[in-house]
Symmetry: C2
Subunit: 242 residues, 2 copies
DNA sequence: TTATACGATTTGTCTTACAAATATAATTAT
DNA sequence: ATAATTATATTTGTAAGACAAATCGTATAA
């Protein structure tokens, strides 16, 4: 029955119990708000000790799938999609490959948001962006202050009205910041050159597209705005294939 | 020192220990491959029992952050970004709002991938897509067989060369499938009408853009290909605001 | 009937115990 | 003396028991 033991990298009882719990919820069509049996019942039903059962429950509790109030027992709840991810997005912990992947992910997502942005944008959004851009124009070259850089892009995410996307960007943001700093010798010269030749797409330029309702201009502008990232990722991917 | 107790929704010792462990790894600059102290040391250092410590470790083990081999102790490992998410993307468990958000996320991402696709695409990719498209043209109207529908889009993700994006799409795919089925009364008529008036962008059309190297055509095609989703999401968001 | 107090139940935490696995030390054989 | 084997110790995985804290329900008293 239990020939899982063969596997080398040690599938523990806790792993199995966790999976069985998920299957149990699924096959019984349990969803947010539904109560689940108490610990002792679950433990005996699954034939494991309370400690093992609790370790498995603890995992699901971390994901927000289970809520528990003392004495009243446990309830299923709507889990947080990204709570697990949030804990581990730590540049130190992730390989370069993963960091590059995340950066690529972010760029694709942000450019792909264009349709949604133009579907939802209104005057208040424009005003907010205008304020951010004004406060950002202090440094000479291509660089904004990190805070307005952050605010501008966050606002764009906000305009989509998609809270999952917003949460996602907040989590992966440190990766962009980290890579930009770590590879500044790569990015700074490129952006300076773009600024010198007038090809750099600034936040102000992007805002102008939004104001004019020029969707294609905005999309193109965003792609150019991320130009340095594209060439960076292309280069890094190739250098990894060697 | 520990005034966390004030919070209502019960922050347990396990929650605190989990966070302390993450902080410990971070502040000691520990990363994949580094060994960490044994359970008893950690437990006494944190002033908690082994059971609490183990519940916290179990969570991090689930995310792949910690690997452990009996007797040899525990090592840090590169965590899986999306392993936590994978367990909970279950349409039953998620609210409609979250499901819609995920669908919007997917659409934005897939359209935003255009640049990357055109950066990486080669003859072999085109051939693969051609094969998929050929096998898909069996039904009349706008509908492909689900399997080729899946294969085509998966191939697009694959062309990006970004394994994080690929993993992500594999996880959230059930949501699109689920919504398409659940709201088929909405989607089918729209697609039929588009097909009737010749405005439906098929996989074959998209492939043609790829073959011709027509990036803007492809991007536009993708947007149209997802047209029904956009109007659906727009409609659903508005109806929620009431 | 309402308010208080008591008891029962369930989760949170700690402790102890033991099995399984394996690294290290000790012992034996060549 | 070196290699092979055995024994020992250590560490994680699992189980079980105990108790505190919280709270729900009930019983008792005003």
């Amino acid at each position: 029955m239990n020939d899982l033991r063969i596997v080398n990298h040690q599938i523990t009882l806790v792993d199995q119990v966790e999976e069985k719990l998920l299957n149990y919820f699924k096959s019984n069509n349990l969803g947010p708000g539904d109560p689940i049996p108490k610990e002792l019942e679950l433990a005996t039903a699954l034939g494991v000790g309370r400690s093992v059962l609790r370790e498995a429950l603890s995992r699901l509790r971390m994901l927000g799938l289970i809520e528990t109030r003392t004495r009243r027992g446990m309830l299923l709840a709507e889990p947080s999609l990204l709570r697990g991810m949030k804990r581990i997005v730590e540049p130190n912990m992730l390989s370069d490959k993963t960091l590059f992947n995340i950066l690529g992910f972010r760029v694709a997502l942000e450019i792909g948001m264009t349709e949604m942005i133009f579907q939802n944008i209104n005057k208040a959004h424009i005003d907010d962006l205008e304020d951010i851009v004004k406060r950002g124009i202090v440094k000479k070259y291509s660089e904004y202050t990190p805070v307005t850089e952050y605010e501008f892009h966050t606002k764009l995410y906000e305009i989509t009205g998609n809270s999952t996307i917003m949460e996602f960007q907040a989590i992966i943001r440190p990766v962009s910041v980290f890579l930009k700093e770590r590879f500044k010798d790569y990015f700074l010269p490129i952006n300076k050159e773009l600024a010198r030749t007038g090809k750099l797409v600034s936040h102000k330029d992007l805002l102008d597209f939004l104001r004019k309702g020029d969707k294609e201009g905005f999309r193109k502008g965003m792609i150019d705005h991320f130009g340095a990232y594209y060439t960076f990722l292309k280069h890094e991917n190739h250098s990894e294939e060697d």
